[in-house]
Symmetry: C2
DNA sequence: GAATGTGAAGGTTTTCACAGCA
DNA sequence: TGCTGTGAAAACCTTCACATTC
């Protein structure tokens, strides 16, 4: 239980460190310096060291960080050293792409339930999972001990489904619909807004933008 | 050409304002206050006013902002009041989902070229677009006057393809592969890292996280 | 009265710079 | 010598609060 409040940016960068360390491990690095780690993710060495220092002291002065060990530590901090039971609601374009998205499984996010409201899809087998009727969302989420729900449904119905999901006692939701959702304060809700980055590119091109702070 | 440097967060929030205004327009609102706009996107009124103030004065004291007008202004600031010619490389899981993703087209991002290296896909028609051989990437990007490239290819080959894309003179790249890419400094490169938000949820659940600053 | 626009204040995050250790 | 860990400084971003305008 982390007591000092950690910023979101730091957590997001932990994901980057984890990714870089996975690669370094494959490349048979034993240790890595904050400088090298920073270079690989376009950050500064000081940033890397400060981020890690929030969680402990993992390095050796003069040497750097032990790759395998640090990777393991970060996976433990992020909570991805275990399997999460994930349900996906909405097996449309985006939804079915996510089911096959290897990266999720690799990091312990196991999609074990699929829901849709399309009668033609319900009951059919999609990549080894039978698609459930969204009408039974609440009870089936409970029965399957789902911990995280991913929403890939149209914006128009996203709020109704969210209300169901919350009623099922789910505490973490990842929303792909381009709409803001209302949830009680104890629910973790995150958005994946795929247009946002394209809009950023558009803005940058039109305005010849140089950001104040680098992403 | 924006001279004062605008922060990335401000630009991302412009996307949110745009989205909220589109909805408000559908709901037949004539004007909207910073308070209401803030509420709809879980921000503060001061934040909304400050963000907008970087680009001009759009509101009327005592009244608020004109919905239609402000929406139009923001679309012009973001550069989405026009059509962007986009090419998508990698027609796999994610790639084909993106081709059908309505939100992109709605905002002026028109996918007009598809590339893949799979002989079975090359030459076939996917949602009205013939898939081109990735071997011809550079020349075909030029010929089609592509302005933005979306990469939905495996991480292992992303860098090679990026080099080609850069050689074709493309200045804006959106990368879905979970790997950091090297590009010259004059190229706008953005990442869509879909695991990142799931990892954040995992971290939050495990650590009972309350962020320092709200997203 | 209601709500914007905005300097100034207050927080937060990043970077600096260096002591300390292998 | 090389590189971490970390207070302190700098940069940045958000919020406050109020003059201003409709």
């Amino acid at each position: 239980m982390t007591r000092k409040r950690i910023s979101e940016s730091t957590i997001h960068r932990l994901s980057l460190y984890y990714r870089a360390l996975s690669l370094l491990e494959k490349e048979n690095y034993e240790t890595v310096s904050s400088k090298e780690l920073a270079k690989r993710e376009k950050l500064t060495p000081a940033q890397v060291r400060k981020d890690l220092s929030f969680f402990g002291t993992f390095g050796t002065r003069g040497l750097g960080y032990p790759v395998r060990e640090l990777k393991h530590q970060i996976s433990s901090i992020l909570g991805i050293d275990r399997v999460w039971r994930v349900a996906l609601v909405g097996v449309g374009n985006i939804g079915s792409a996510l089911v096959s998205y290897k990266e999720f499984a690799k990091q312990g996010f196991q999609i074990v339930k699929l829901f849709d409201n399309d009668q033609r899809k319900i009951g059919s087998n999609h990549k080894g999972i039978v698609i459930s009727d969204i009408a039974n969302l609440e009870t089936e989420l409970r029965e399957a001990n789902i911990e995280i729900v991913v929403l890939a449904v149209p914006a128009t119905v996203a709020q109704y489904i969210t209300d169901d999901v919350v009623r099922a006692g789910i505490k973490a939701i990842l929303n792909f619909a381009p709409v803001n959702l209302k949830v009680p304060p104890d629910i973790y809700l995150r958005h994946e807004n795929m247009s946002m980055e394209l809009e950023y590119l558009s803005f940058a091109l039109v305005n010849n933008h140089v950001p104040k702070r680098n992403s």
